[in-house]
Subunit: 493 residues, 2 copies
């Protein structure tokens, strides 16, 4: 009986392909012990029985037993009998419980206050682009071959030093290239020492929020505005204070009337307001800076989409007018090149460089270094500037296709204002048509539009939709306008 | 007089190469206005005077004036006189103040509590590797050509979809490859759904700290232990509770005696304790899990350096023994491949996947997608497993060189215990030699060693140093031992 017990009831599953036999036996025995089918103190099958039963060599079995012994599952010496260890706690000897939502909820691992405030940012669409995808540049026109060439050249001659990792602030030559680009093209006044390379503007927001805001601190955001900013500020516990946008940008006076308390930080998109497209006037810029200086408020300038301007002249960045070092300036490479890249830059006042570097060092060490080097090559070889010029022409064309077909097909239903810059525009619905209904109807016609209300923290106009015109070609834009026309007809009140 | 005033005192600096003339003139006039050399209300020089004085065409000047007017710097119409705008606030009309530390400190932009607690993680050495660099794999043996090939192949056939970005959790095929690798090689029990791709273990720590800890929450860390963990927990305001490490790993009983309050989280390196190299015993693992389950404590298992084991057998991860879903498991690709890569993985209990994904979406969207795809190709084509095998052999060789030469040259001065795994070892100083003195003396002999005390949060033994043996070749290791011998001789009390 004893002999039978030691050999038969184990009923191990047969050896697995590509797994060494000793490993298989070890795992099967371990599972058997943990599942309670071999109790603490139970004798393990004799090696010769196992050898006969499973047709494996005794040395293999001895190896498996030794592993089990070295890990404390079994005790005793091979030859004089091997026994399941008595020190295994009860918990491990139960059969694995079935996974259940109930159990998960019951155990209740507490989350931090930050986690409880956190809301996910919806991911961008995974299906291929269609009219009027707003969150994407013209990836069909991205020079992948050229990028691959530049990357391959850098990768072939990569140095041990580059492989070893770099500074928290980013790859120095890239920081210099960015400083030069920003000084020349964006009117930003900075040295490379103030430039940090980061993994996207979203990370810049997250970093600034963590470093500058405590729970309860008021933060002004534009209304309507970029939802990725509000979600970050909310997660750190800031008090979100939406401020209306008028034809000159964020309405400072309206904000001061509405919110008694001075904010700690103001988030703005002065070059090209997200999503309305307004450019902040110089007068408004100067008032905002002066007020921020007096009230010790930090201005976070998101230089979103500023590379693409079709009419009017570029107005230099708010940062370039700042004499009091209150502006943090952020811009991204991902909208110009491709979103998967996750590289952006941050220009911070010189006395904030160290604390931003410390945060980077503690949270990620630094952004991936080879990507930074490839991007740096792409810029310094002139490809970046050429790509921006090419895309500006392409987007101007696509914009005019949208405006012309909308003028022909959507007259009386949708009015598109003059678009000076960017990859998207707002469209104003006519005759009482409601944006939320349009978005639903458009989806049925295989067209994407976003109601303006999705970008509002509080109340929003119900007659605005956002249309992207950069991601798809003229033909798809025309199809989109036709289909949107049908959708709009069906939404008339 | 009026005419003279309007033309002479401006004294603009001459046109700049590569800058359009209108842009140069615009910038010079703007600077002049902002510096107060042209007061609000002052009349600008007549276009014909400027044309004569600087030898540029009048249309160029008109363009510059119009830009200034569109931005609100000047008022009036070309022809009837152009005047500096009266709405410029005083602040902008002062000459830029010289940068000074004093001013920076005086303005006092307040930082968050998080920022005030933040301490930077020192960056790794930028000079090339020498004996006994501990923080680096053998980059001299990294197959850069092969990596470049795999990368180039992926980049050439990159899809628009890949360029568009991906899921917060990471590139799905990579998550599947990681799950398979961890199940097979590390005894981790998980599905791909529980695997998150992140930008390094440091980020995994940062993420977990933000999601699970509130200020004041106690956290146990190993003493001595990985400083990158303590710095993260400290920054979120956790109460750091160091717990001694004995021959079985983190000493649970010592921790319970020393700290009354249950911790919210325990950080451990069970595979190969950092920096002592101890492997946590099975008995200790089981007790730790059982205690964590009862006290609802999260265990953060850092599977640091576990790929390289030279003797003994690999013990499966703590995570693989966990039935109560209390273990968060983290491991990195950067120690196996190269630090600049910044890619790692996190395996979290299934009910925590969503919150970790939300944090990723809000703070960075996702790690760079093409890097993930390249790494995935590198793994699925078998290169990763081959590289680990090759490196394991190389490191075993390098380790034996260190042990042998130390046995010959450092007998009576330094004792190296049996090294079972990893890229580094502790060395115990003999005869009362002090580690801090050795580190200083070694630096003079062009050798790097780290005193154990640098890895301690509180008190630490003063007779331990950490030596890396993976980063440099046999010859450099022998040189290092010779030189260290000289340094040690000079440190005898």
């Amino acid at each position: 009986m004893a002999k039978k017990l030691s050999t038969l009831p184990l009923n191990l599953r047969g050896p697995k392909p590509r797994m060494p036999l000793y490993r298989w036996l070890y795992e099967e025995l371990r599972t058997t012990i943990l599942a309670g089918r071999l109790h603490p103190g139970a004798r393990l099958p004799a090696t010769r029985d196992l050898a006969t039963q499973y047709g494996i060599s005794r040395p293999t079995i001895v190896t498996a037993f030794e592993q089990l012994r070295s890990e404390g599952y079994v005790e005793g010496k091979v030859g004089s009998g091997t026994y399941v260890s008595k020190t295994l706690p009860d918990e491990l000897l139960q059969a694995p419980r079935a996974k259940s939502e109930a159990r998960t909820r019951r155990r209740g691992i507490p989350l931090s206050a930050y986690a409880r405030r956190l809301r996910p940012l919806p991911r961008s669409e995974s299906r291929s682009a269609r009219a009027f995808r707003a969150s994407q540049p013209a990836l069909d026109a991205f020079p992948t071959g050229l990028w691959a060439q530049v990357a391959a050249r850098r990768l072939r001659r990569v140095s041990t030093r580059l492989l070893a990792g770099g500074e928290a602030l980013g790859y120095r030559p890239l920081r210099e290239a960015v400083a030069e680009y920003l000084n020349t093209s964006r009117g930003v006044k900075c040295t490379a020492d103030q430039v940090l390379i980061i993994s996207g503007v979203q990370q810049a927001l997250d970093r600034a929020a963590h470093l500058l805001l405590d729970p309860g601190d008021p933060v002004w955001i534009e209304e309507p505005g970029y939802p990725g900013a509000a979600v970050v500020f909310r997660a750190v516990g800031a008090k979100i204070c939406p401020v209306a946008v008028d034809s000159e940008g964020l309405n400072l006076e309206a904000g001061r009337r509405r919110w008694q308390q001075h904010p700690r930080l103001v988030y703005v998109t002065p070059a090209h307001q997200f999503p309305l497209g307004v450019t902040m006037s110089l007068r408004r810029r100067l008032s905002l800076l002066e007020w921020a200086r007096r009230s010790r408020t930090i201005i976070f300038e998101d230089d979103y989409d500023s590379e693409y301007r079709y009419s009017g002249r570029p107005i230099p960045a708010l940062q370039g007018l700042d004499r009091a070092e209150v502006v943090i300036f952020a811009g991204s490479f991902t909208d110009v090149l491709f979103p998967a890249l996750r590289l952006a830059y941050l220009v911070v006042p010189s006395d904030m460089v160290d604390i931003f570097a410390a945060a980077e060092s503690v949270s990620t060490h630094h952004p991936p270094l080879i990507d930074q080097a490839i991007l740096c090559d792409f810029i310094s070889e002139g490809h970046f500037a050429r790509h921006v010029r090419r895309m500006r022409e392409l987007y101007a064309e696509r914009l005019s296709v949208l405006v012309e077909s909308a003028g022909l097909r959507l007259a009386g239903l949708l009015e598109i204002p003059v678009v000076e810059a960017g990859l998207r525009t707002v469209g104003w619905l006519q005759g009482g048509i409601l944006a939320e209904r349009v978005a639903q109807a458009a989806a049925k016609y295989d067209v994407e539009v976003v109601p303006l209300s999705r970008y509002a923290y509080g109340r929003a106009r119900s007659d605005g939709i956002v249309l992207g015109f950069a991601a798809v070609d003229a033909r798809e834009l025309r199809r989109g306008v036709e289909q949107l026309g049908r959708a709009l007809q069906g939404c008339r009140p």
